[in-house]
């Protein structure tokens, strides 16, 4: 069962390499992604056996795939994201479309692997596997400054993951059976000092991936320069890898070190939230704005996890999913506008509500989800996260809370500049978005509201993870 989460995207990706026709390629990719989604729905609703075979005997590493609530929620997010992204961007023309889609699906396989891996070495493998296709996607199909910027991104994250590799090596040396399985990592007897060392090594990787202040500078540039489909994957799913890593590895494995660093990390994150929010206020490029907004949101999730209160972690678990959905929605709207008008500068937009009311409504819908308006999905998550932060430290929560206001400022700025006002020259060239994108947006918006009003299924899904984390 679980192996098909890897095989399905990979096989589709390989198949795609041989399909030259653009339309057929797109259809194939969508069908493949939909199949994965179906699989994910089945997997999240049923009990799934772990997949475990021998891999590298002399390194004591096994090929283990397993799921729990945390993995399930992210698998679901990944599985939803890809078809959504593929359908929404189906009309976008790329040179060598089949290769583009193929790489995208390779990324999906990598992401699935990251969320499923029960073995540290395997985890690292998929961690990189998810990165490399993205590097090519951005560098080949990105904007004008793509090469240098993607390169910086790649080296940055690659360096980060190397630190994690050292951490894995370090832990591996300290386990009784020298294996890489998460279970034996859990039973490794580390002193406080050793925990801090390993913690630092892992944390750098995750911090860069998320990214949290001040390691974030690659992100806006990359988001701006990447083809939007890739940006969506990155901001919806890839950044979750860092948070996932913290929840899966850092928190359970190094409780002492984790506790010792909560203050530092939370303060850093909160600072980053405000910082990114302030910068977002001054952005004119819609993609950069969403990027900084994403940094702020991820910062909040990180702060919540590090506040180490069960409420906040519960909120973060939910937000992992919600943020992904919301941000994809925003990106799709931004992409439709960019594809049709050829600009990302919000100064040149305006009047969307008059020209394309439906798109404007969808934009406003996602914008409000982005600022966590109640009855949208983000509210539930942020509410719980803030509560937990408040429990951790009221003052920090109050400071972090300022981001709620700042988020309103930049999001409404965006809405105002894009949707309202008289129809601008650029917007006037727009025609109706394609049916696919529209349908995806509507479905996503429905998800936004359904999980916003009734988030209980997601809580139930992640209850076991929360329980485990609390026990530790």
């Amino acid at each position: 069962m679980l192996i098909s989460f890897l095989l399905l995207p990979i096989l589709t990706a390989i198949l795609l390499l041989f399909i030259k026709d653009k339309k057929t390629a797109t259809t194939t990719a969508i069908v493949g992604a939909m199949a994965t989604l179906l699989l994910a729905v089945v997997a999240t609703t049923t009990k799934v056996e772990a997949f475990d075979i021998a891999w590298l005997p002399s390194l004591h590493s096994r090929f283990v795939l397993q799921v729990d609530g945390l993995a399930k929620i992210l698998i679901l997010l990944t599985a939803i994201s890809f078809p959504a992204i593929l359908i929404a961007t189906a009309k976008n023309e790329y040179k060598q479309q089949n290769k583009f889609l193929s790489l995208l699906l390779f990324t999906q396989a990598g992401l699935m692997g990251v969320f499923l891996a029960g073995d540290a070495l395997l985890f690292y493998f998929f961690w990189e596997l998810a990165l490399i296709p993205v590097y090519f996607l951005c560098s080949i199909w990105g904007g004008d400054k793509r090469i240098a910027i993607t390169f910086k991104f790649f080296i940055y994250t690659f360096l980060g993951s190397l630190f994690m590799l050292v951490g894995i090596l370090y832990l591996n040396a300290h386990t009784a059976d020298h294996s890489f399985s998460i279970q034996s990592f859990l039973h490794a007897n580390l002193t406080g000092h050793q925990q801090v060392t390993a913690f630092a090594l892992f944390f750098i990787a995750f911090a860069i991936k998320m990214p949290i202040f001040p390691l974030h500078t690659w992100q806006p540039d990359v988001y701006e320069q990447s083809p939007t489909a890739v940006t969506m994957v990155m901001s919806a799913v890839m950044v979750k890898m860092g948070l996932y890593g913290i929840l899966r590895w850092l928190l359970p494995l190094f409780p002492i070190a984790f506790m010792a660093h909560t203050n530092v990390v939370v303060i850093l994150s909160v600072f980053g939230i405000l910082y990114a929010s302030f910068i977002a206020i001054r952005q004119d490029d819609i993609k950069r704005l969403i990027a900084y907004s994403s940094i702020a949101h991820i910062g909040l999730m990180n702060a919540a996890i590090f506040s180490n209160t069960s409420i906040a972690i519960q909120g973060a678990l939910l937000q992992l999913f919600s943020h992904g959905i919301n941000v994809i929605g925003l990106w799709i709207v931004a992409d439709v506008i960019e594809q049709q008008t050829g600009t990302r500068s919000m100064q040149q937009m305006g009047g969307l509500a008059k020209k394309q009311p439906i798109l404007a409504i969808l934009l406003v819908g996602f914008a409000f989800a982005n600022i966590a308006l109640p009855l949208t999905n983000a509210f539930v998550g942020e509410f719980l996260m803030f509560t937990g932060l408040f429990q951790f430290n009221p003052w920090i929560a109050a400071f972090a809370g300022v981001s709620v206001i700042l988020a309103a400022i930049y999001t409404l700025n965006m809405v105002q500049k894009v949707a309202y006002g008289e129809i601008s020259e650029k917007i006037n060239t727009m025609h109706a978005p394609n049916k696919g994108a529209q349908a995806v947006l509507i479905i996503l918006l429905i998800i936004v509201f359904v999980t916003g009003v009734y988030p209980q299924p997601l809580f139930t899904l992640t209850a076991d993870t929360l329980q485990q984390l609390l026990v530790k």
Binding site: P214, I311, F383, G401, A408, Y454, P455
Partner: protein, 641 residues
């Protein structure tokens, strides 16, 4: 129970249905269908509310559970509704006034095209839905959902004419100022959850919970709640959005920015009065801010020439009164004023809307005048509204305002004196407005004059109903001193523990009433005398300019807060982000490249040098070997913390 469950669900689902109906079908329905449906749904909701009201009159408060909104190991927030004396009153006001305003809107918005017409009603319905959520919720989180929801609708409606940049700006301003308040509210909720583990009224507002909270907790929570109320109810310092909110269609101003949404703060504080009563500090803060707001807004209102702006500042001022009432412990008085204010302020706004409608969207009162004869119904109803707000008996405003003033007198004489000053100013600016608009001779263009007409039935009918309500609304709270039995206080007794009931002697109350009536009447007469014939020109005195320019508060905010923050953001974006952080990242890359350029010079192509370096390399190896101990020590020192 299930019966009430259905009734309450109906109250709230009708507006939601209206929202979905109009929102999704905006391109399909005719304007007529839209109007009927939108208004009809609210009326249905109103009927259900009446039903619920009667039910709880007979059977007491009801709390119903629908589903768990959030249910995790540590925190549980049910999606519960509660109908009790307080919320049922608000239900009636919201749906009642709401129905009237919907009705009014059907005519007022006639010029819009069908999709926008539908959009307008969808927003309006959504607003009613959110407002109902706010008052029906059985815990602070549900209240907060409604709380933000109304903010959203306010935003959408202020920016209803979205092609106008200034309107959008006003909408954004309203939302953001509200959000500042909301943050306070949120923090208060967190505080409650962290301390008590619950946000349900039935568990928070009890003696046991109070015992669990220290006095600092209570003060902190109540102050934060008050911050929330400040934002929503436009109190100092978060009041500047409300006058700007007049950018929206006039019925919206009537409904949202006068009758209902802005009173949410009063509802919230009244709802949590047990907490507030336990914090002397908070009460004083509320009273001081309330009275300051009342006076500040009144002074501004005196000098405004835009008909809606005057009413807007008047609203702010009246809200200030209500907060004064809350601050001095007169919760039921505040609620009373909310209700009467809803009547007469909605009336005034709708009247203003009628005038604007007749004047073809002219809002400057200096260009009006003499409308008395042309718009008879509007004139009469507007006059009733003015009298009511001025506090002349036996119109409703007199009773509610008097109750607050009496409580203020009891608490602190200064509040009372200031309150009186405010009352006088209220009477003055309202009659200034009335006189300038309706009396004298017409000052508008000929074109406008030729088209002057009374508004259609759909607009006048609500005016008439509201005028009647404004006139007689006071009956629900006739004080004992006047021979009444104050029905409202009785109603709210289960919610509000009115601590000092009837401490003032009857004679004192009489004197107070007489004084306030006298002052109000004198003020209104002066206004009438002065403005029946003349209009205000541009103010020349310093004070006049100061008031005219709204105390320069917007400019102050702009200069002291917005601009510096904007600059700060720019500084972060341009300097810290690009130069410092990214500079450090890129600098590392540059450093590598720089050292690459330098180090590669060693490889100078001369084999002699190469061998020389090799010899030195061997020598170095030997030296390291000789000094291994000291080097190791050094490294250990470096690597150990």
């Amino acid at each position: 129970m299930t019966f009430m469950k259905i009734v309450i669900a109906l109250i709230i689902l009708w507006p939601l249905a209206g929202f979905l109906f109009n929102g999704l079908g905006r391109n399909y329905w005719s304007k007529k269908v839209i109007a009927y449906k939108a208004t009809g749904y609210i009326v249905c909701s109103f009927i259900a509310s009446i039903f619920a009201f009667i039910q709880i009159q007979n059977h007491g408060a009801v709390s119903v559970h629908y589903f768990d909104f959030i249910n995790t190991a540590t925190v549980k927030i049910p999606f519960d509704f509660k109908v009790d004396a307080l919320s049922s009153l608000f239900l009636l006001v919201i749906t009642g006034v709401g129905s009237l305003i919907h009705l009014y809107s059907t005519a007022y918005m006639k010029e819009e095209t069908a999709p926008h017409y539908a959009r307008y009603f969808a927003y309006l319905n959504l607003f009613i839905f959110s407002m109902l959520l706010l008052v029906l919720g059985d815990n602070y989180v549900i209240m907060f959902i409604g709380w933000e929801g109304v903010g959203l609708c306010s935003y959408l409606l202020i920016g209803y004419w979205f092609t106008n940049g200034a309107y959008n700006y006003a909408a954004k301003k309203a939302f953001i100022m509200n959000r500042i308040g909301d943050l306070g509210f949120l923090l208060a909720i967190f505080w409650l959850i962290v301390k008590l583990g619950t946000v349900n009224y039935s568990e928070v507002l009890t003696a046991e919970s109070l015992a669990k909270l220290s006095s600092a907790d209570i003060t902190g929570i109540t102050l934060l709640l008050f911050v929330g109320a400040m934002g929503k109810s436009a109190q100092i310092p978060l009041f500047t959005w409300l006058p700007d909110a007049m950018a929206g269609p006039t019925p919206v101003s009537a409904l949202i920015h006068a009758a209902t949404m802005v009173t949410a703060g009063i509802y919230m504080i009244t709802r949590s009065n047990i907490l507030f009563s336990h914090s002397e500090i908070t009460q004083n803060v509320i009273a001081i801010i309330g009275i300051s707001t009342a006076l500040l807004a009144a002074t501004i209102a005196i000098k405004q020439n835009d008909i809606k702006k005057v009413l807007a500042y008047s609203t702010v001022s009246q809200l200030g009164y209500m907060f004064l009432g809350l601050g001095v412990g007169a919760y039921s008085g505040a609620v009373f004023h909310v209700i009467t204010h809803a009547f007469f302020k909605a009336l005034l706004f709708l009247g203003a809307g009628s005038v604007i409608h007749a004047m073809h969207h002219e809002q400057d009162i200096r260009k009006m005048g003499g409308l008395k004869s042309r718009l008879p119904i509007t004139h009469i109803t507007f006059l009733i509204g003015c009298i009511a707000i001025a506090g002349v008996p036996p119109f409703s405003g007199f009773f509610s305002k008097d109750e607050i003033l009496a409580a203020a007198f009891e608490k602190n004489k200064i509040y009372w004196v200031l309150g009186l000053v405010g009352a006088a100013m209220t009477a003055f600016y309202m009659f200034r407005l009335y006189a300038t608009t309706f009396l004298g001779k017409f000052r508008g263009t000929n074109d406008q004059e030729s088209h002057l007409h009374e508004s259609p039935m759909a607009m006048t009918l609500p005016l008439i109903i509201l005028a009647i309500l404004s006139a007689i609304g006071g009956v629900i709270g006739i004080p004992h001193s006047l021979g009444g039995h104050h029905w409202l206080t009785g109603q709210l007794s289960s919610i509000v523990a009115e601590p000092k009931e009837a401490m003032l002697s009857v004679s004192t109350e009489w004197i107070l009433m007489l004084v306030s009536v006298a002052i109000a009447v004198i003020a209104l007469l002066i206004a009438l005398a002065r403005y029946s014939k003349h209009t205000d020109e541009e103010p020349t005195t310093t004070l006049g300019k100061f008031f005219y320019h709204k105390w320069y508060i917007d400019e102050l905010y702009q200069k002291a807060i917005v601009a510096p923050l904007d600059q700060f953001a720019l500084f972060l974006k341009e300097f810290i982000e690009k130069k410092v952080i990214d500079g450090a990242v890129n600098g590392t890359g540059k450093l590598v490249q720089f050292s690459a350029r330098k180090v590669r010079l060693i490889q100078n192509g001369q084999v002699g040098y190469y061998i020389l370096f090799m010899v030195f390399g061997i020598v170095t190896l030997f030296l390291i070997w000789f000094n291994d101990y000291s080097i190791l020590q050094f490294i250990n020192k470096l690597t150990q913390k």
